[in-house]
Amino acid sequence: MIQYLFIGLILIGIYGLLTQKNLIKLVVALNVLEVGVNLFIISTGYVKDGVAPILFKGVPSTNGTFVDPLPQALVLTAIVIGVGVTALALTVVRKIYEKHGTLNLDEMGSESDD
């Protein structure tokens, strides 16, 4: 089933978050996780032989014709939120690079004051 693949993507994303040391790779892992979640959400709305939920010529709205439009609307929101978080994360990564001169978490050292 295709849903297994999407859950697989989520798991790959979590594995990346657990093991990676490079900040950019962490952001990439986060995006893999997000894509997995979004695809999974879309897949929960699929109806066999359904078409895109848009009224057009000759199609009255009856059950079974359209796929569930709500997950698609939710994914639209989730994608935009993902873009916002990614933009902010990349900005912070750039600031960290300016400050520490490295993108590797291990080479950075602590940043407390005392």
């Binding site: 295709i2 979590i14 848009i54 359209f66 569930d68 709500l70 929101t77 933009a87 600031k95």
Partner: protein
Amino acid sequence: MMKRVIAALLILVLALFIYGNLYSTGEGKLFPKFGNVNLSERVSNKFINKNANGENGVVTYKETKDAESGSANMVTSIVVNYRSFDTLGEVTVLFVSALGVGLLLSGKSRMKFKTPPNFILKAGVRIIAGIILITGVYIFIHGHLTPGGGFPGGSMIASAVLLFYISDDEFRTKVKSFKFLEGTAGSLYLIFGLLGLTMGGYFLYNFLPTGVVGELFSAGIVPIIYIFVGLKVGSELSNLISDFLSEEGK
């Protein structure tokens, strides 16, 4: 190495946990199998038939007049009508993250490329940018009829701005005017919501007539809101691009 093995084991446990429980069989309501979704059990059934507030018969394209949500694209009718409050939040997310990027990377001069843009890129952008801009505007104006809407349309506009950036070494957007556009579009969205509150008694109430399903001038405030969203998303993403391509002044 050890850490990777532990992480892999953890993922394995998580995978077994998800697969074992999600597709379990037994008593009670189960997670529906892929494709076997019964829409009549979900709230979206009413969104498709446009009868959330009461029965109104079958909705037919280009015939039904004054349906409760007049947009032919059901995703749009959910995004900008039934769950418009989420979209307001979504616009705010983009607004605040663009603001945060601007606060952190407020460089004075723009980043120079190592290789200057070549002739083909420059000439190509001049031809293609106008088409992209017009397509973007088309997409968000027709968001209630065809696939698309404010967010894809806005991103297309921003992609034209990105093309200007990479084709011209000196190009800088007028961040201030984009900020003004962004603020205006956001405020107008909220003011339309408050207008609905005073005219219909509900925040973000669709107070205009919804017209005939499938026509350009239909769906009440939906296309108007999508135009604001499109302009706002376009200006926000353009600001993001210009902030990312700026560096501390010399």
